[in-house]
């Protein structure tokens, strides 16, 4: 099949960007979306033209590196899928496809389709961990954890930190991302000693980074490649309120 692509090109963080048209010809339905872009780039490279910069790494939906808005939807049309897992059989001959980077003030564009998501790292640094040094951990079976609790914690922990939730949200809120980590530790006993400090610090960090608030549209869960539900946000809000009420 042959496709018409409109791709965001931006030379650097301070430069103005624009959509540029490219043709993708002889696309096989078995290709992944990023392999289709590889082929376009290979063509550009051979002509001595600069390749379209986009981030990707594991290409199997777990590293969270790829970050494309495809026809207006972060990670494209398939539910529960990262852009790298999207296959061209989802498109048909003659389609035109618009490809843009994540758009959020807290994720500035570095070049073309690549954005800077280091704000997420700083949110984790603010409190997204259990403060245990390496060494003195008790036996792994010392604290039994009911299976359903462990499973629920795992559902939240599955977040890959890609930032699609932020890109889909009209407020560019990082609530789904944060709440996934906060839920994991609110559910597991290991996270309890620091639960109040954690939720307060992470939310304060996100506010400072320029992420917006949550207004319950649910766009985040609709695009989340790991299908993390917004019930995590409700849990985070409860944790936040508890932390505020119990503050000394």
């Amino acid at each position: 099949m042959n496709l018409k692509l409109r791709i965001w090109r931006q030379a650097g963080p301070a430069a103005a960007g624009r959509l540029v048209e490219y043709a993708a010809d002889h696309v096989s339905p078995d290709m992944s979306f990023l392999e289709m872009l590889d082929v376009v780039n290979e063509g550009l490279t051979k002509k001595g033209e600069e390749a379209i910069a986009f981030d990707s790494d594991c290409r199997e939906g777990i590293c969270g590196t790829c970050s494309l808005v495809i026809n207006g939807v972060p990670h494209g049309p398939d539910r529960g899928t990262t852009a790298c897992q999207l296959h061209m059989r989802r498109f048909k001959d003659g389609d035109s496809v618009t490809i843009e980077p994540w758009r959020a003030a807290a994720f500035p564009v570095v070049k073309d389709l690549i954005v800077d998501r280091s704000a997420f790292d700083r949110i984790i640094a603010a409190g997204g961990y259990v403060s245990v040094n390496c060494g003195g951990a008790p036996d792994g079976n010392a604290i039994p954890i009911p299976k359903d609790v462990a499973d629920l914690a795992m559902d939240s922990a599955a977040c890959i930190g890609c930032g699609a939730c932020v890109a889909a949200c009209k407020n560019a809120s990082a609530h789904l991302f944060m709440s996934a980590k906060i839920s994991q530790f609110a559910l597991l006993p290991q996270g309890h000693p620091e639960r109040h400090r954690r939720v307060t610090a992470m939310i304060a960090q996100a506010d400072g980074e320029g992420f917006g608030s949550c207004s319950n549209e649910g766009e985040c869960q609709a695009v989340c490649p790991k299908e993390i539900p917004i019930s995590n946000i409700a849990r985070m809000t409860r944790e936040y309120v508890k932390a505020a009420l119990l503050a000394k």
Binding site: G12, G48, E50, Y129, C134
Partner: protein, 637 residues
């Protein structure tokens, strides 16, 4: 050069404890005066940086990704081994040690492997304390499964995302140290040279991938945790950015490279669909616990799998290896799949696949149990192939997955360049010629959490390190070397794509240095690789500028290094005229077609010294002695 592995004396079970006592310590108040450079943020790198930061060292931590959480350890699916014996099925540290030495086909170092088995127990405790959501039983205790070639259930897992959860645990510990300012993080940086001052590793040159700037960093020791070199084969299960560059540049500065020919081919990957393919996707071999591997008995049988009656199917692993069945080690499973395909009994359009069938498991356990165990893998399979594995058998084929070879290190994980330590997949020490399933995560974390924090202190306390700053001549020299190579890459201005040349290298490696190697195929590769390298430097097209984010330039640099490294891999494979583990030389096999070792001549680690591009490297041999586990022909019958 004589290789001294620094193995402590005493009985095998006491070596590490004894060594821990005998090693020198750095006074707590002095630790912050030492700067340690850690390159890489995978399981080994992140756990090392976090632990060293916790101890009070001043740590500089680098990664090529935009965030440390994206390192390729994240993609490990199946699990992590530990000798906890929670299942009461006869496991012990000694058994894990024994299995790992045997699984490595007697080409690893006994003392290292024993330490690994000992530390496995601490890793689980540490990860649970960090809040890693391991799978649990209804009673609330940790669940285990048996995995890839083990007859006990010692594998801990977090659904099919164990690597992700362990890495996030290490990443979070790392970010905590970043917050506490003991670790300074440098993301989107690629190490392009090692700086050696007065014979000791004292810094690195890195390229800032966002701005193109060449940056210099000085320290008192350097820790490389930069992963393996699987993408030398172009198609592999590795992430696209995984590469050998940091290790190779350290090799060129004097670190010996050991056993590069020990590469692991994983049996359960999704088959190749076409030329456009950029990577292969692995499905956890835990699938082999419940899936049955088969091909049609008849050659060229093109019927749909459901039309092939039971008595016309060959469950070849169960037939040939009745006691291990579908759970034989990876090298054995891979070779048998290749053999079936070579015999014309492969399935699917290309004939380069075998079936992995869950029908019996679904009938026995119910679809819900299978969904619970492997749901995400079945879903992944469907996304890629558009097939429902609950209804039709999966098609699988081997692919390059892990590399056991790496920079040579001693028992302290120090390379032949004093001060340069190498952890995880980037070193060579623990897996011998074949790594068992669920052992890579164990090794990465053992090295980072529990070995390097001790051994690096011993190094720092044993040497005198005059202050070195980045305006030292060695930094200037290394940074000019890096600049020169970048200028050279950009000035070729040819018309061949970088990917095209990489793909060609991959084809040479897979065809001639792949699952079955012969004297003739290796000699052919040794002719073809330098030719392709010359072609690269004459005809590659690397557009763009150096002072900018330039992914073509990054990629070209890595491929250029692979074009040098591939020759070493092929040479090592040629010189090792025996079969062992993942290295199968067709000339050396038993009458039944199994790998035949030559212990009399090859019980050593081959550590290669760089002598220049295109000139034959010098080999140094570390003899391996087996006092505990006596080498026998591996048999999984």
């Amino acid at each position: 050069m004589t290789l001294d592995a620094q193995i402590p004396g005493g009985a095998i079970a006491e070596k590490w404890d004894r060594h821990k006592f005998e090693m020198k310590l750095v006074n707590p108040a002095n630790k912050r005066k030492y700067t340690i450079i850690v390159v890489g943020t995978g399981l080994a790198g992140a756990s090392a940086a976090a632990s060293l930061g916790e101890l009070g060292y001043n740590v500089l931590n680098f990664c090529i990704q935009d965030s440390p959480r994206r390192a390729h350890s994240i993609a490990a699916q199946g699990g992590i081994n530990a000798a906890k014996n929670y299942q009461n099925d006869g496991d012990s540290v000694y058994r894990l040690f024994y299995d790992t030495v045997k699984g490595g086909d007697y080409r690893s170092r006994e003392a290292n492997v024993y330490r690994l088995a000992q530390l496995s127990v601490n890793i689980i405790d540490q990860c649970v304390a960090q809040g890693v959501p391991f799978a649990r039983e209804y009673g609330g205790l940790l669940d285990n499964r048996s995995f890839g070639g083990a007859q006990v259930s010692r594998t801990f897992y977090a659904r099919g995302q164990t690597g992700q959860q362990l890495l996030l645990g290490a990443y979070q510990s790392l970010m905590r140290q970043v917050h506490e300012k003991s670790v300074k993080l440098f993301a989107r940086r690629e190490m392009l040279d090692l700086v050696v001052v007065d014979g000791k590793a004292r810094g690195i040159i890195a390229r800032n991938l966002s701005t193109g700037e060449i940056e210099r960093y000085a320290g008192d020791a350097v820790v490389l945790a930069t992963g393996g070199y699987g993408t030398v084969y172009y198609l592999s299960t590795n992430a696209l950015n995984s590469n050998v560059t940091a290790a190779w540049r350290a090799h060129k500065r004097g670190a010996l490279f050991a056993n590069p020919c020990f590469t692991q081919i994983h049996p359960t990957c999704i088959p190749v669909s076409g030329d456009h393919q950029s990577k292969l996707t692995l499905m956890s071999e835990s699938l082999r616990n419940d899936g049955r591997v088969w091909v049609p008995k008849q050659k060229g049988d093109k019927r749909r799998p459901d039309q092939i009656p039971e008595d016309e199917r060959d469950y070849y692993l169960e037939r040939k290896y009745p006691s291990f069945g579908n759970l034989v080690p990876r090298d054995v499973a891979s070779r048998n799949a290749k053999q079936a395909a070579d015999e014309g009994r492969g399935v699917g359009e290309s004939g380069l696949a075998v079936y992995l069938d869950f029908k019996d498991a679904i009938n026995r356990l119910g679809v819900d149990v299978i969904k619970e165990k492997y749901g995400n893998l079945f879903q992944m399979y469907q996304k890629i192939t558009d097939e429902d594995a609950y209804k039709v058998p999966m098609r699988i084929y081997p692919a390059i997955h892990y590399t056991m070879g790496g920079l040579w290190v001693d028992y302290n994980l120090m390379s032949t360049v004093p001060g340069l330590h190498v952890l995880g997949e980037a070193n060579f020490s623990d897996h011998g010629a074949n790594r068992l399933g669920a052992s890579a995560l164990m090794q990465g974390l053992a090295d980072g959490y529990f070995v390097i924090p001790y051994t690096i202190g011993h190094y720092l306390a044993s040497v005198t390190l005059p202050k070195v700053t980045t305006d030292h001549a060695a930094f200037k020299d290394a940074s000019e070397n890096v600049q020169g190579r970048i200028t050279k890459l950009l000035s070729v201005k040819g018309n061949r794509g970088i990917r095209e040349i990489h793909r060609e290298l991959g084809r040479i490696m897979w065809d001639d240095v792949g699952m079955a190697r012969t004297d003739a195929s290796l000699r052919r590769a040794l002719q073809a690789i330098p030719k392709l390298r010359d072609e690269f430097w004459q005809s590659v097209s690397v557009p763009g500028t150096p002072d900018n984010l330039n992914q073509s330039l990054e990629y070209a640099g890595r491929v250029a290094d692979y074009l040098e490294f591939a020759e070493l891999l092929a040479l090592d494979a040629l010189e090792r005229r025996e079969s062992c583990g993942g290295h199968f030389r067709e000339e050396s096999q038993t009458p039944e077609g199994e790998a035949l070792r030559d212990d009399a001549n090859f019980t050593y680690a081959a550590a290669w010294e760089f002598t220049g591009v295109g000139t034959k490297p010098t080999v140094h041999k570390e003899p391996l002695t087996f006092e505990e586990v006596h080498p026998t022909q591996r048999s999984y019958k």
